[in-house]
């Protein structure tokens, strides 16, 4: 697959799967206001995925967004393992949300300079949304870790340790990083990872949490190898679509 298409699929698949995971909290959130905010953020992620699938369809000759989202096989998805993991408890979901959204915000900030005009325009359009997502996650993480009680602090530290190797897997290389950099499409996963680590580190210092030192990244998602959690998620996500694939909504 060409490097640009591969990049857009990776970003869009991450957004689609995290959107579905986070939306599983709808109606079950820890307090009404947070339930609404978290659901709304999940909905935004779905919007990011849709916008990217639309660009893939209109400019790169891929199938229409619904077909892409609802009919591909598990092996065709290139999301990272991080977004596939079940929600667990709210500490894990919140930490994943912060770590993922920090990366997404920085990625879109880099993409504002992309040589693909439609991608650069999308990046500019959604900057405020992703800024709010990070603001939301960061405020909760700092609050629970630095001003909560012993249990909330221990839970956030434990969630960070669980998340870390999976979070590093977000930066697994695509099919041709050099081509993306050369053509000015995207400055590459290594550059993004450097910016992300710096940003996350400053937040964790403020939160009083310790980032694990020697964890290797969990890889494979970008090549179509997934955890056992993705297929059940896809089954559930597509259940309505599959009852009548040709239906007009």
């Amino acid at each position: 697959m060409n490097a640009t298409k591969d990049l857009l699929y990776r970003i869009a698949d991450d957004c689609l799967i995290i959107a579905h995971r986070n939306s599983e909290w709808t109606g079950l959130g820890p307090l009404l206001e947070e339930d609404i905010a978290f659901s709304s953020i999940a909905q935004d992620k779905l919007g990011h995925a849709l916008s990217l699938y639309r660009i893939l369809h209109e400019e790169f000759g891929e199938r229409d967004p619904d077909t892409i989202a609802f009919t591909r096989n598990e092996k065709d998805f290139t999301c990272c393992h991080f977004v596939e993991l079940p929600n667990g408890e709210y500490d894990f979901s919140l930490m994943r949300h912060f770590l993922f959204d920090a990366a997404e915000f920085l990625r879109w900030t880099m993409l504002k300079n992309s040589s693909i005009a439609s991608v650069a325009a999308l990046a500019a359009k959604i900057q405020g949304e992703t800024k709010y997502h990070v603001y939301h996650g960061r405020t909760w993480v700092i609050r629970l870790a630095s001003a909560g009680n012993e249990e909330s602090k221990a839970r956030m530290q434990s969630a960070l340790e669980t998340c870390w190797p999976f979070a590093l897997g977000m930066f697994e290389h695509g099919v041709d990083e050099q081509a993306l950099i050369r053509e000015g499409v995207f400055a590459g996963e290594d550059e993004l990872k450097t910016q992300w680590e710096e940003f996350v580190r400053s937040t964790m210092v403020e939160a009083g949490l310790i980032i694990p030192e020697h964890d290797a990244a969990v890889l494979g998602g970008r090549k179509g190898y997934h955890t056992e959690h993705l297929q059940p998620l896809l089954d559930e996500m597509t259940v309505v679509f599959r009852t009548d694939p040709g239906a007009e909504w």
Binding site: L31, L32, E33, S40, I41, Y135, H136, W140, R143, A147
Partner: protein, 132 residues
């Protein structure tokens, strides 16, 4: 022990034991404090009170208020104020405002200025059709 089977797959997945035990009642007032939310829709417009949110701190109140009250329509700026910091008149003192509706001379509508404006325009401004 049987587990709860729900139409909602998320609930079924939790493998909650189905027992007849009644749920413990929640203690009273176990909620977070509240913050009043004010929204400004246009530059120069007043911030208007739109409701309140529960939150542990003012910064989280702002984070949550953004999605509760800034999710639809246009918003330019938002304030949150801790409800306990709002100073209010007592319900018993509603009578301090009782005679206000009678004081029509304080209402703009009470001034019959419109007729005077029309008269002035007629006398001093060119009428339609008189433009050269």
């Amino acid at each position: 022990m049987a587990t709860i089977v729900s139409l909602d797959p998320r609930v079924t997945r939790l493998n909650i034991e189905s027992t007849d035990a009644s749920m413990d009642p929640k203690p009273e007032l176990d909620q977070f404090q509240t913050f009043e939310v004010f929204v400004q829709q246009k530059t120069g417009a007043h911030h208007v009170h739109v409701g309140c949110v529960h939150a542990p701190t003012s910064d989280l109140a702002l984070v949550l208020a953004k999605e509760q009250y800034g999710r639809r329509g246009t918003t330019l700026n938002m304030w949150v104020v801790n409800t306990r910091d709002v100073v209010t008149t007592s319900a018993d003192d509603a009578d301090i405002f009782a005679t206000t509706p009678e004081k029509k001379y304080r209402d703009v509508a009470a001034y019959m200025v419109r007729n005077k404006v029309e008269e002035f325009k007629k006398k001093n401004l060119p009428q339609d059709g008189e433009k050269s």
